[in-house]
Subunit: 265 residues, 2 copies
């Protein structure tokens, strides 16, 4: 397809939208959607979501009538996923020409400990449920709710990480969860040729998650290296990473299912 100058009349579903990269995606995407678009913003924290909604309402897109639906939901629960899907169906219209799902929600897990300490199935099950199962099942639900039809473009995005392809000491849950997510999307891309499927690794972002990484990582070297990146100003802003993500989406020349890193672009 031809490169686009915007994301079209879009329905954007963004998880983990209340903070960090998800919040930036919501704000930046609002600049590149056409009138008649709708956003479904998902997070556990309702207060932060509503402040984002208020912010978006004041933007040009907001004044032009961008529909914004906040869903306060725990993605570790089936009921949470279903409310997201239902909200997306409610705000979609016959004129929607692009459905985008941004699977951004995620957690580091306990990075203060090493692999040999993960003896408790309940802890691991819970991590995988929130970070892998919910990711797969929400994607599947959205694809079923918005099946392929002429004139509808569908894009699903996994906010991935370098950790999906490279092991980090003391980050076993995060690395294996991200590896699993990338593979879910590689399989999906092989199955659904009409779909655009992207594993985007946003680079080392200056977010609360990075603060957690440099203060809590069990691996001393890793903690040191993150601290140095921070103090030397090498962390990326969410905005600059989001600009590259939007460039990818609008140029639309990435291989469906590929893992694309900020530094590859």
């Amino acid at each position: 397809m031809l490169p686009m100058s915007d994301l079209g009349r879009a329905l954007c579903i963004i998880t983990g939208a209340s903070r960090g990269f998800g919040r930036t995606i919501a704000k930046e995407f609002s600049r590149v959607v056409r009138p008649g678009s709708a956003f479904v913003l998902v997070a556990r924290s309702g207060g932060d979501l509503r402040s984002l909604q208020a912010e978006l309402t004041e933007t040009e897109a907001g004044r032009a009538g961008l529909q914004i639906r906040c869903v306060e939901a725990d993605l570790g629960l089936a009921e949470g996923l279903e409310r997201v899907t239902k909200a997306a169906q409610e705000v979609a219209t016959d004129l929607t020409e692009h459905v985008l799902l941004v699977n951004n929600a995620g957690s580091l897990g306990d990075i203060s400990r090493f692999t040999k300490s993960f003896t408790d199935m309940t802890e691991v099950n819970s991590y995988l449920s929130v970070n892998v199962s919910s990711f797969l099942c929400l994607t599947a639900q959205i694809l079923q709710a918005f099946p392929q039809r002429p004139g509808l473009r569908r894009t699903v995005i996994n906010i991935s990480s370098l950790c999906a392809v490279k092991p980090f000491s003391s980050w076993v849950l995060y690395c294996s969860g991200k590896a699993a997510r990338d593979m879910v999307f590689r399989v999906l891309a092989a199955e659904e040729p009409d779909l655009r499927v992207l594993n985007y690794a946003p680079g080392p972002l200056d977010t609360d998650m990075q603060l957690e990484a440099r203060s809590k990582s069990g691996d001393v070297q890793l903690r040191k290296s993150f601290s140095e990146m921070f103090s030397q100003g090498q962390l990326l802003s969410c905005e600059e990473s989001c600009v590259k993500l939007m460039k990818l989406l609008m140029e639309d020349s990435f291989t469906s299912g590929a893992h694309v890193d900020f530094y590859d672009i």
Copy 2:
């Protein structure tokens, strides 16, 4: 270290030991352990385990006093894992010089359906619990039960698959589970330099799992390609794949944490 001509006075813990590759591993390993070794054989099916035990008791190793403990356990349950660890501790002695854990148990998941059909968190959670969480937690429990000490060699093996590195249409659970397992072991290898960590992809084995693959895969091409491999005699016997695994272990020159495929050796 120097190449070994056997696995030493070993404690071998083998999951999924009742059938297929796990059963072959138990039989082949019994030929290359020294007197004073012990096996912990784990599976859901107690009957098949006991028939394997009877078979092993009749071998040279069995007649020389190989200890064999059968653990009938569901690895999706914390209680099942704990019984495996307890059995391993009971049969280990001060003379044990090599602890080997072979994480072979696993399931394909429902391969008749495509990714977009996986909307049910309960199904995905259950798959990941049996195939990823139990794998991580059992490994952690065994490492804690047998900490590093002078004279003790420790090897942990993940029976991996080409699916850990290559997506297969209609195999989303299997591929993503195997990708997660490989990554768990890559992180573990980075954390524990004294440990030998191996992701071994055994190649397309002529087992019940392959029968399931060629009869049930939702992807028609995949089903056809597996059927052709079967009819043209291209599937591998469990024995020939196990020979390569033992070669790897005895030469002991693989990079810890690496993904090594049958066809790489």
